[in-house]
């Protein structure tokens, strides 16, 4: 199984601070995606990073990918209370059907 695992499981920070979440996976991937889920809502796509990319930015989000360590990190800079949500990584393998495996999620709480 190439299930992603996020670390930490839960994170509580003050508004304005940076939040870093990590994702580890087990097998070679085609790409890795990060999603956000607000309480009681569906998942929202944040960033997709391909296996040949090392870093990607989108607004206050920065994602890195280290395929040698089979890990990725999501950095949210200058966090806001509205960033409070669960964050998931999802990985798809390199062969056959691209079945995305979602990680266990990091619950981020940003305190105002």
């Amino acid at each position: 199984s190439q299930q992603g695992e996020e670390d930490p499981q839960a994170l509580s920070i003050q508004e304005g601070e940076n939040a870093t979440m990590n994702c580890s996976y087990k097998t070679s991937i085609n790409n890795l995606q990060w999603y956000r889920q607000n309480s009681g809502r569906g998942l929202v796509h944040l960033i997709l990073i391909r296996s040949n990319e090392r870093e990607k930015h989108s607004g206050r989000l920065r994602v890195t990918l280290d395929t040698s360590k089979k890990s990725s990190s999501l950095l949210i800079t200058a966090s806001r209370a509205a960033d409070t949500a669960s964050y998931f990584c999802a990985t798809a393998g390199t062969s056959g059907t691209y079945k995305y495996i979602f990680g266990t999620g990091t619950r981020l709480k940003v305190l105002a």
């Binding site: 085609n30 889920q37 809502r41 569906g42 998942l43 796509h45 079945k99 995305y100 979602f102 266990t104």
Partner: protein
């Protein structure tokens, strides 16, 4: 306009009943999915369809039967509901299997 919509949003039913959840996407995507999210927020893929053809069937009991009448719709029918089926079911779509996915708001199923 809602990109991926699901109905109903809440479903409360008794064991043994049969129920359906409907999903529609207006994004023109070729691929649609059903996911199950359990009480621990673990998200697991159940089915995936590409252009109305089943491409992923993830060891789901055959009480669950997806049906895709056209590219924009993917419905989920569940027979003989069991307590363990209680969860939130998410529909999603993507242009291609390797692309970012757009999720519906979820259907919270409670079996009593």
């Amino acid at each position: 306009d809602t990109a991926v919509s699901q109905t109903p949003k809440y479903l409360v039913t008794q064991m043994g009943n049969d129920k359906s959840i409907k999903c529609e996407q207006n994004l023109g995507h070729d691929t649609m999915y059903w996911y199950k999210q359990d009480s621990k927020k673990f998200l697991k893929i159940m089915f995936s369809y590409n252009n109305k053809e089943l491409i992923i069937n993830e060891t789901v009991p055959n009480r669950f039967s997806p049906k895709s009448p056209d590219k924009a719709h993917l419905n989920l029918h569940i027979n003989s509901l069991e307590l363990g089926d209680s969860a939130v079911y998410f529909c999603a779509s993507s242009q291609r299997e390797v692309d970012e996915q757009y999720f519906g708001p979820g259907t919270r199923l409670t079996v009593t």
